[in-house]
Symmetry: C2
Subunit: 336 residues, 2 copies
């Protein structure tokens, strides 16, 4: 195959020839290794830059056993939360000269394992972003993936560093917010029952219920997208709740939209809260009260853990970032 148009790929050999030294000397200069005579080093640098030479990352990868790349497996790139974390991670990694290989599992649990294994093989480490697979599978898979960092999932009894949003506390605070406003009859439009992040939220509800016997929280069937929220409106109204927590902002927005269509006023007739604080939450009508998950930090902190791992430093304790409640227009006092 003919070379496209640019110069043919240069090797360390070309640089050595140009500088009149041996390959090893070039290698040493390029890596800042050991002591090389000042004048020789200068000649090498001149040759390299005039040839516009850079060492082949693949060859280095082979000999060093390091690719300067980490894999990130994400269930769905379309989800703003994952995206934010991915972005935070990718930017932080870039600052340390690391690259990011992405693998989108399209929420396909069976695909997750294969993707992770494949991606891991071409990288130095892996980040699992909210893996969907059952805990047993995850625990079984993890050892073969190390070094690994997990975001937004907390498999019990595994020593991989975890960085996660504290959904439980987020939900507690949202419930407290409604409680303080005077609500006693609330509803939670749940996510998928198999999902870990749904369980964490339910934990929050249970805790709150234990300390507030005067509160009713109906758990309603739901989902994770706009449509789920939109369709949940009948169940929500039937529950007679005066305040509704949606699984996430998308669900809340769908619900908001359905309520709007029926002429039900928010927050006068019913209060709504979302979860995540996606960028769009501020711009709904009314603006959405929600628990703000620090997605970028999630990614940054995960990278920090990863960086420790990559440098054989003990990673710190697991981190649970607490969402902060953003009170906006969609929540108010109960009617009457």
């Amino acid at each position: 195959v003919a070379q496209p148009s640019g110069q043919r790929p240069l090797t360390i050999f070309d640089v050595a020839a140009r500088a009149g030294v041996s390959l090893s000397t070039v290698s040493r200069v390029m890596n800042g290794n050991l002591k090389v005579d000042g004048e020789l080093a200068e000649r090498v640098r001149a040759a390299a830059s005039s040839l516009n030479y850079t060492a082949s990352p693949i060859a280095r990868g082979l000999v060093l056993g390091k690719t300067q790349t980490v894999a990130v497996v994400v269930p769905d790139l379309g989800n703003p939360t994952f995206l934010g974390a991915l972005r935070g991670l990718s930017l932080a990694a870039a600052k340390n000269g690391y690259h990011v290989l992405i693998a989108d599992s399209s929420e396909d649990v069976s695909e997750e394992r294969i993707l992770a294994t494949q991606a891991r093989r071409r990288c130095d480490a892996i980040v699992l972003l909210a893996p969907r697979m059952p805990e047993a599978s995850l625990l079984e898979l993890l050892p073969s993936l190390e070094p690994a960092v997990i975001i937004n999932r907390d498999p019990t009894g595994f020593p991989a560093p975890v960085v996660a949003a504290d959904y439980r506390s987020g939900l507690l605070e949202l419930l407290a917010h409604f409680y303080d406003l005077g609500h006693r009859k609330m509803a939670f439009v749940a996510g998928r029952s198999e999902s870990a992040s749904n369980s964490y939220r339910l934990d929050g509800i249970a805790s709150f219920g234990a300390t507030h016997p005067d509160v009713e929280v109906h758990v309603l069937e739901g989902g994770v997208g706009f449509e789920s929220g939109y369709e949940s409106v009948d169940r929500v109204l039937a529950s007679n709740a005066t305040a509704v927590l949606a699984f996430n902002d998308l669900v809340a927005m769908g619900l908001l939209s359905a309520l709007n269509e029926r002429g039900i006023r928010v927050p006068q007739d019913i209060s709504i809260a979302g979860f995540d604080d996606i960028p769009f939450a501020r711009f709904t009508t009314p603006p959405l009260t929600t628990a703000s998950v620090p997605v970028a930090e999630l990614g940054e902190h995960a990278w920090r853990r990863m960086w420790d791992l990559l440098n054989d430093r003990p990673p710190g304790e697991n981190e649970y970032l607490r969402p902060t409640v953003q009170v906006r227009g969609s929540s108010g006092k109960p009617k009457g």
Copy 2:
């Protein structure tokens, strides 16, 4: 450094030993190359799977000169349009066994060149997603990046395949929609003046103006995010336009929000349209009329071009995907 916990990395040698054959035979079986005796092949396969062996992608990369990975440089992962294209591309690439390395330039023009060059070196090819750099720089850089595919940018006179949304036609159709409703005094809240995609839109406006002398389109200063739209409200109202085209959906949503706060009714008092049809556009109040850019297809088609390139097939003609107008609640007849 001690091995973490899993088995030490196996090589083709281990498999050969286990199967009692030579390295080459293993290699041949693993790659389905040439003819290998049925029984031997079976033994190799058995050995490989019992050892859970997979060839090292890095070693293969070195010897084959192919990494099965393409780089994607994106200005900002947070932008739903880029994200959608990235997602479409990544999914399509995965179907062909290709991996995706991402590089987020954070909208930093000076960083773009370096990121692209670096990322390209560890991949077989590169996709430039709406590159921000000036056309001259782009044309200068491109030859060193080949094979390359460009999304949402159309540098004149370069033979790299381009897949882009046809912003010009999208804007034309939106203007026609307003025109048909009876609007004659319109405004366009522009994006960044240096941006290519803004120019394409302005081309659309110019074309429309040329064929519709009875229409006024005021071009107003704007931006690309919510805030820009929100802040543009005074200029919009001052223009006395009865229908407003926003640079994109985010700008439209910001504007919608500001109008809402002032009690100006949409579409009764003023009509609004966005551009892109991000997932949230359907759920604003009122739902946003917009031109739907087929982002996933953008990515998929880009991959198709890339696939051609990677297989030494001539890539097809440049593709310009036409956005389709989605008429929703934010546009109506002019007042009075």
